[in-house]
Symmetry: C2
Subunit: 186 residues, 2 copies
């Protein structure tokens, strides 16, 4: 068993994560993080966002580089399609969160991953956002994520990996449960 | 009033959106959209996602270009910080959705925008995702969006713009209300 464990490498440093868990159990205030983005309107429905700093472990932190994102609506909505739509950013968030979790859980369970790919699709009825029918919600009526996973494990163990990733995913929680949002004008 | 209207240009084609609303009222099945992303695990918590096609107006559609996104965890989580975190993607989604809505509503209300910037911050207690305390949720405990808006309008009209954008925002709905997510392994 020890031999199997040492040969598994999904690129996740589980020892560091377990050490962090132990450290944060003793100092829970260090577990309070603030993540941020800044968004600047460009023109029409096009905006440009940047992600650089966050707060955690009791102090300000910086990403290694500044990440930038353009968002827009497509041409069939009379926009210029200069970036993915905001809804597509939610899909990227959810798929990437579940995928990171699958890698971390696989490492913890000594399962070698060879490949993990997901397709994610969200259904939306534009009658909501266009104000045609107030009974139609603005957001996705449902989202489906389909994984293809090639790993040194039985199918039931692969399914258990995915289930555990859902159980600990920040974005899965955000999408499936209500989150309080406050919007203010300065 | 007509003069004021013709001089306002926020880059949003409101006439086209109103025409779309009228067309979709008569053909509601054309309002059913499917948005998609594909996510590929790279190594550790790093994944690469692409956004290219979607479905709407009764047929397959393509973005003008393929949008690509790297997601990762930061170095203080023992990762390589090769992209924004999934939670930060949610913040980008929410800020860009509200900002696009502000521009569209402003155009409809003949309010000339000069600049719109938002900062968005989400609080997260990592005791949730690390499994330290099962009473702590995995996702954001709360999100705050702060707008600075320079526009040819009174403060109360600017606040009403932001409120109307929240009312019609897909991502605001997704974050503040539960969405059904199905995850399957092929």
């Amino acid at each position: 068993m020890a031999e199997v464990k040492s040969s598994v490498n999904n690129g996740v440093n589980v020892e560091a994560l377990l050490a962090a868990r132990e450290a944060l159990t003793k100092a829970p205030e260090a577990a309070l993080f603030k993540f941020r983005a800044a968004c600047e309107w460009k023109n029409g429905t096009h905006s440009h966002s940047t992600v650089k700093s966050f707060y955690g472990l009791g102090q300000e932190q910086q990403h290694r580089s500044t990440f930038t994102f353009d968002a827009d609506h497509p041409e069939i909505f009379a926009s210029e399609d200069k970036g993915a739509t905001p809804g597509e950013y939610v899909l990227v968030a959810l798929a990437s969160c579940l995928t990171a979790g699958i890698a971390a859980v696989a490492q913890h369970r000594s399962i070698q991953l060879r490949s993990v790919t997901a397709t994610i699709e969200g259904d939306i009825d534009a009658q909501g956002i266009l104000g045609i029918d107030s009974d139609v919600r603005n957001g996705f009526s449902g989202i489906k994520v389909t994984y293809k996973i090639d790993a040194d494990a039985k199918r039931e163990d692969i399914e258990a990996l995915v289930a555990q990733s859902q159980k600990r995913s920040a974005v899965y929680d955000i999408v499936t449960n209500p989150t309080n949002v406050t919007v203010v004008v300065e």
